[in-house]
Amino acid sequence: MSRTRSTGAKRDELYETAVGEHGRALDRLAAGYEADPEKRHDLRQDIHFQLWRSFELFDGRCSLKTWTFRVAHNTAVSYVNRERRTNAGLVSLEEIERTAPAGEPCEPDIDRGRALQLLGELIRQLKPLDRQIVISHLEEMDAAAIAEITGLSAANVGMKIHRIKNILSRRFLEEKRYA
């Protein structure tokens, strides 16, 4: 199968478009992989560089958004693997769901900053694939779009999203009980 390659000018244009449309989401994605601001900046740079390079090979068979997030997630996953030679310490959604009892919600009068911090901590303890799904879900992508990015089946993603919702509701929606 032949691959249509874009010219240098086209690549720059695609890069500019992708960053214009999804730049903020890419920053948030990096935050899901690295908490330290300096390291995060390096990761963001790496994501942008790989994204820019990747558009040389963009063939339009998937949407610009899917391509952008695929490249960004793959770059971030490589970063995670580089940083922790093994994935020891990272857990799956299933493990979190199994081990975290329902009585561990965040504090009822939690403010936005604290909630974001807890959310970041939750995401960064996940194994890369689950992290991709959680981040994509938080970015309001549907199961089909996430499946396209991750390569999992839509049914599998749907199941994972169900778990994510369960975990998030335990951790964040418990406030309703106090409201």
Partner: protein, 196 residues
């Protein structure tokens, strides 16, 4: 007033996180990558040269009383090889990469591509850097196998080191050629194909 109901919608919290303070600049990234390429090439060269010189120095000290002509000539050849390589590639060693940031920004992709090409050429010249050590180990082996040191006791004691060096050289050559291939692939990606 604190924004109390924050925790009710994790997605909204996630999407409303504050903007990053530092902006991402593609020209800066290219500049940093170029500097990294330069730095890794430079340290590889210095390490190869140091390893060869250290090996020769230890062997010369160890076998100084033997006064073996082949050994002396061999070590002289290794030192000459190192000296010529150092002179030929002095721009990699004695000088830092002094490209001005504005030049980098202006040249952009072209600048990065040139750095990649230099890195590829360096990797393809693997023999220049691995050669001295390889040559030194071969000379040592030849000498020890010859009549300079009768008996096999000494040969047996040095053989593991020689085998290790030969293996190290083979591994290094393979690794560099593989890296050269990867760099070439990156160069190919940067160059738009000819149309028409």
């Amino acid at each position: 007033m604190p924004d109390r109901p924050a925790a009710r919608d994790p997605g909204a919290i996630w999407r409303a996180q504050p903007e990053e303070k530092l902006a991402v600049n593609l020209a800066q990234i290219v500049n940093r990558r170029s500097a990294e390429l330069y730095s890794s090439t430079r340290s590889e060269i210095l390490m190869s040269i140091s390893a060869a010189l250290l090996f020769v120095a230890v062997m010369a000290w160890r076998f100084a009383p033997a006064h073996d002509r082949l050994l002396e000539l061999g070590f002289a050849a290794v030192i000459a090889w190192v000296a010529i390589s150092l002179y030929r590639y002095r721009h990699w060693i004695g000088r830092s990469d002094r490209s001005r940031p504005d030049t980098v920004a202006a040249a952009g992709l072209e600048y990065y591509r040139r750095k990649l090409e230099r890195r590829r050429d360096h990797l393809r010249n693997a023999w220049v850097w691995h050669g001295p050590l390889f040559l030194a180990s071969l000379i040592l082996l030849a000498v020890l196998m010859g009549k300079a040191f009768p008996g096999t006791e000494r040969l047996r004691s040095v053989l593991p080191l020689v085998v290790l060096l030969v293996l190290w050289t083979a591994f290094g050559l393979r690794r560099r050629l593989r890296q050269a291939k990867e760099v070439q692939a990156e160069i190919d990606e940067l160059e738009p194909p000819a149309t028409g």
